[in-house]
Amino acid sequence: MTNTTAMYQQFICAVLETVINKALALSLNGSKGLQSINQKCLVVYLSELGFPLSLMICEDKVLVTSLNEHPDCVINTSIKTLLALKQDMQITELIKQDKLDISGDLKVAQQFAQFFEKLDIDWQTELAKHIGDIPTFKLTQLGKKLSRKLNFAAKQIEADSTEWLVHEKRLVVSNSEVSSFNLQVSDLDVRTEALTQKLTRITQLINNAKDICE
């Protein structure tokens, strides 16, 4: 590990620790649920990072370090997989695909996951405390508008990229191509059936001819 990597590693841990504890302080649920995992340590190895992230609960705080001496549970995975995990929770499937590896006390990992899911922050009230009600209202409206526009843009980009993959790169087949392929398969199926019947009839004719000759 070079000394730049060492500092970068510490910087990431420090930022994560600040963000998590800030979120915890703002959460409407407070630090509820942390007591059950007090002094428990979850170590996560993310393939993109290349160093362990150790999350340890100390009373009402979460400490983020790279200490990996005595973890209660260790997860080996990637950021990509973690995002997928949040979306549809297909843990066993990911384990089967070698995208997620958990060792140690699985309950600790579950409790950590529950804790992060329960973080519930009232952003509007928090913002209003700092900048006042009217600016918060305006900012929220602007945020909503921006979010709608971004969603629309994201859908557009998705549609465009699909178009590009279909027409330019020809990596993805279009719906009409799939339907036409389905029709062709059905047609082939009918023709195969007819051919099978013809063959059966010919076989019967040959067998009959054989009987007459004998």
Binding site: N3, A6, M7, Q10, C13, C58, K61, L63, S66, L67
Partner: protein
């Protein structure tokens, strides 16, 4: 002849670039830290652009600390390391924040209490050269930016070795010698031109920060400190340069 060699020649030692009587150094260092105590944390962030926090985090990671451990944060001053250790060792562990200087200890104690850190921290006013603890007491000892202020570093290292448990480790975080010549030049310029001015402006105490810059230059380099630790009895001694060697973290075990 290195500063370290000279310490052994007669009864004189260094206080920054000045040569002073060994007995005099302690009181001079004491007056520096009495004078900077109140502004110490602000100045630390300012002078290092906050990077001292990353150096300290690295030290915590390298300590291999576990819940239930007993830790000595020696020359712990305002208690940055103690705060983290206290959380990591939990209620079954213990952290002793020891410092020779009562003003630094008081600032540290107030800060940690304000943060609600009370249950497992003890405060002890002690000289690193004569630690008032039983043999084989601690799992981990840290001394961050403290060793260069100690008059007899060899004696202090022996004292730390004595109070460390077998299997325990010492971590010395200290300013050191930059690896690149260019960095040395930039660092020298910063230390001798900008730093004392900052000290004058913010803490109204340019002299103390002039001492800080000088004491860093007089401190043994990476290899010398490693040898000193080995002479004191530490084994598997290694060091890791941080920020181009501006700071180094030395680690050694007692077996």
């Amino acid at each position: 002849m290195s500063a370290h060699d000279q310490d052994h020649q007669d009864n004189s030692t260094h206080f920054g670039y000045q040569t002073v009587d060994k007995n005099e150094k302690e009181s001079k260092v004491a007056s520096v830290f009495h004078s900077v105590a109140a502004q110490y944390d602000v100045m630390n962030d300012l002078m290092s652009f906050g990077i001292h926090r990353l150096w300290k985090r690295f030290t915590i990671d390298a300590s291999g600390i576990r819940p239930g451990n007993k830790v000595l944060d020696l020359a712990g001053g305002t208690g940055d390391l103690t705060a983290k250790f206290s959380q990591l060792v939990g209620k079954d562990g213990q952290v002793v924040l020891a410092d020779i200087n009562s003003s630094m200890l008081n600032v540290g104690r107030d800060k940690l209490r304000d943060r609600g850190l009370v249950q497992n921290i003890d405060y002890v006013q002690a000289n690193a050269q004569h630690l008032p603890f039983e043999d084989n007491t601690f799992d981990v000892i840290t001394i961050a930016f403290g060793l260069r202020n100690v008059t007899d570093k060899d004696e202090a290292l022996r004292s730390m070795y004595r109070v460390l448990k077998p299997g325990g480790r010492l971590l010395v975080l200290e300013f050191s010698k930059p690896e690149q010549e260019l960095l040395t030049k930039a660092y020298d310029f910063y230390s001798f031109n900008i730093l004392p001015k900052m000290g004058e402006l913010v803490a109204k105490d340019g002299d103390s920060y002039q001492y800080l810059a000088e004491s860093i230059r007089m401190h043994p380099n990476q290899e010398t400190l490693k040898e000193m630790m080995e002479t004191a009895g530490f084994e598997q001694t290694t060091f890791k340069n941080l920020t181009g060697g501006i700071v180094a973290l030395h680690k050694g075990y007692k077996f």
